[in-house]
């Protein structure tokens, strides 16, 4: 890209450390890109240039003193707006959290700062991360940099699009059932969902606690690995982040030693033809490099969507009870606008406060409440947990035959904005290849594998066994090499 003196985030660190580039110069570059392009893309909800430049100057002053420690020295990182940062509001793209300021940074944000990274701004998402298109944001949708009329994917659409368009060299998102991998696939960047329990969720606003994971976006696997190394690891503030869960179960790093499982159910007619052919080409490349392709079966794939949605809706209905006007959210007042007289009792306070939720959030809380209510619990919630157990076992069995599994991240490339917004069920079906692995708690990474005839990115998804994150990233790097290497930012032409 014109005027850019680095081709990767790793190169930024090397140059800042060597004193040939300043963190201020880097920050200015990305702030200018944001100013120029974000009005057309709408990746960011909150950017504070002065705060960004202050952080960059601090890094430069440190380097001048000879202190060049820090794996992310001088790198600006965009942060999904469901992760708490003390110097911005944290809104989850919801009316109910407008103006909310957290008293503490999320652990992942603190670790980025401690590694010399700079918080660049807060990115757009589906409200409370509930969606697959970023259209459920109270601030409006994010556009796909490859085609502004199409969705960026979701729920971490702002983070994915920002990295794809070169508005940030790195970003963090969260993945509950595909919310990092699906937008990464739609926007043509790398996105990792780490193994459950390897990255702290302290300061991540909870949506579905048995599934939520924080993961990185980057233009290449090496940069994604660099950010993952910084944010991963035990955290005494998150008891689900296990002290032994360090993500270093090993896999063969040499492609000629690698058994690549090809799930039959991920290569079916429901997948768009161009997507199937890109994945097929990717498998052929791997075979040419000596990898062994092994057919495997994930026969419960079609049940992963109802299982996943029953689990997330049930957990969300419980997690979001804290938005009641007492613990979180502004006190609701009466009237249709919520601006009327003071609520006269606790019940009406809750109800008037919660009118500020958007429609998809209400729908999920309602369905979750239903699934957990007397008389329905066994038929819906308990049944879903039993199927979840079987899905987990099925992945474990597949990993007895193969080291990694490979298939498409999504059945189609990015769809037009508005196309699926009237039919919630149709949007849920987009998660068919990402929900199952989330239920099983295994790591998954989406890599750009090719493009459709319309120039839309198509992603390949690689799964590894639980806690194989570090070597899955090595394998993904090898596969990326086979596919022609990392990405460069999209050249935007929006007529301005």
């Amino acid at each position: 890209m014109a005027g850019q003196e680095w081709s990767s985030a790793r190169e930024i660190v090397e140059k800042v450390r060597a004193g040939t580039l300043t963190a201020t110069r880097v920050a200015q570059h990305y702030l200018e890109r944001i100013e120029q392009h974000d009005p057309h893309l709408h990746c960011f909800l909150d950017v504070r240039p002065e705060t960004v430049l202050d952080q960059a100057k601090e890094v430069d002053a440190r380097v001048e003193r000879g202190d060049t420690d820090g794996a992310l020295l001088g790198i600006p990182v965009a942060i999904k707006d469901n992760l708490c940062t003390t110097d911005h509001s944290t809104t989850c793209a919801s009316q109910i959290l407008q103006g909310y300021r957290s008293a503490d940074d999320a652990t992942v944000v603190r670790r980025i700062r401690e590694a010399g990274g700079i918080v660049l701004g807060k990115t757009n998402l589906d409200e409370f991360a509930m969606g697959a298109s970023t259209e459920n944001s109270c601030a409006g949708p994010t556009s796909n940099p490859h085609d502004l009329k199409r969705v960026a994917g979701g729920s971490s659409g702002g983070s994915a699009a920002a990295v794809a368009a070169g508005l940030a060299p790195l970003a963090l998102g969260s993945d509950t059932g595909g919310s990092v991998r699906q937008p990464a696939s739609f926007c043509g960047v790398v996105g990792l969902r780490p193994s459950y329990g390897t990255v702290s969720r302290y300061g991540l606003i909870a949506f579905a606690s048995s599934l939520d994971q924080v993961g990185p976006f980057a233009l290449n696997v090496g940069d994604a690995a660099m950010l993952w190394e910084v944010v991963a690891g035990p955290d005494p503030r998150d008891s689900t982040c296990h002290p032994l869960a360090n993500g270093d179960k090993s896999l063969p790093s040499d492609l000629s030693q690698l058994r690549v499982g090809v799930p039959r159910e991920y290569h079916v007619d429901d997948v768009e033809k161009e997507t199937r052919s890109v994945i097929q080409q990717c498998l052929s490349h791997l075979e040419e490099r000596g990898a062994t392709l092994v057919p495997v079966s994930l026969s419960l794939t079609e049940y992963s969507i109802p299982t996943y949605y029953l689990v997330v809706m049930s957990e969300a209905s419980s997690n979001l009870s804290r938005f009641d006007g007492v613990r979180y959210g502004p006190r609701g007042r009466g009237g249709s606008t919520g601006e009327g007289h003071e609520s006269h009792d606790l019940e009406s306070l809750y109800r008037t406060t919660r009118t500020r939720f958007g429609e998809e959030v209400k729908r999920r809380i309602m369905l979750g409440t239903y699934a957990l209510s007397a008389g329905y619990y066994d038929a819906y919630y308990k049944k879903a947990l039993q199927v979840r157990h079987k899905i987990r076992e099925e992945f474990e069995q597949a990993f007895e035959q193969a080291d990694v599994l490979l298939g498409p991240t999504t059945p189609t490339p990015a769809f037009p904005i508005g196309e699926k917004s009237q039919d919630p069920l149709e949007l849920y079906l987009c998660d068919v290849f990402t929900a199952g692995s989330a239920l099983a708690g295994i790591p998954g990474i989406s890599l750009p594998a090719g493009k459709s005839g319309d120039g839309l990115p198509i992603g390949a998804q690689i799964f590894g066994p639980r806690l194989s994150d570090r070597s899955l990233l090595v394998v993904a790097g090898e596969i990326e090499g086979c596919l022609g290497g990392g990405q460069t930012p999209v050249e935007l032409n929006h007529g301005s």
Partner: protein, 93 residues
């Protein structure tokens, strides 16, 4: 799902729905729940429910107070406060 059922669930969830939302939700929730029925096809006899993706037991630590610097800062973020105290609406007339 009947609209009376939607109303019952909205009360349980403490969510007010206007008339339009109520009608739309009755229709959408019915369709979504019908799709969820698919799960009944899976034989889960003797399968234990997995409420978590792992069998790891949450670690425990010693119950020792850990210093935190920001209580005033936390209170200051609320709508109403005086020093380190929250201001809440009067409960006694």
């Amino acid at each position: 799902m009947e609209s009376t059922e939607v109303l019952r669930i909205s009360r349980l969830a403490r969510i007010d729905l206007d008339q339009d939302e109520g009608a739309r939700f009755a229709d959408q929730l019915t369709k979504i729940l019908a799709y969820f029925e698919k799960l009944q096809e899976v034989d889960t006899g003797g399968v234990s429910p997995a409420s978590h993706p792992t069998d790891l037991v949450a670690p425990v630590r010693a119950d020792r107070p850990d210093g935190w610097e920001a209580p005033r800062d936390l209170v200051a973020r609320s709508d109403g406060h005086t020093d380190e105290f929250y201001r809440v609406p009067r409960v006694l007339e």
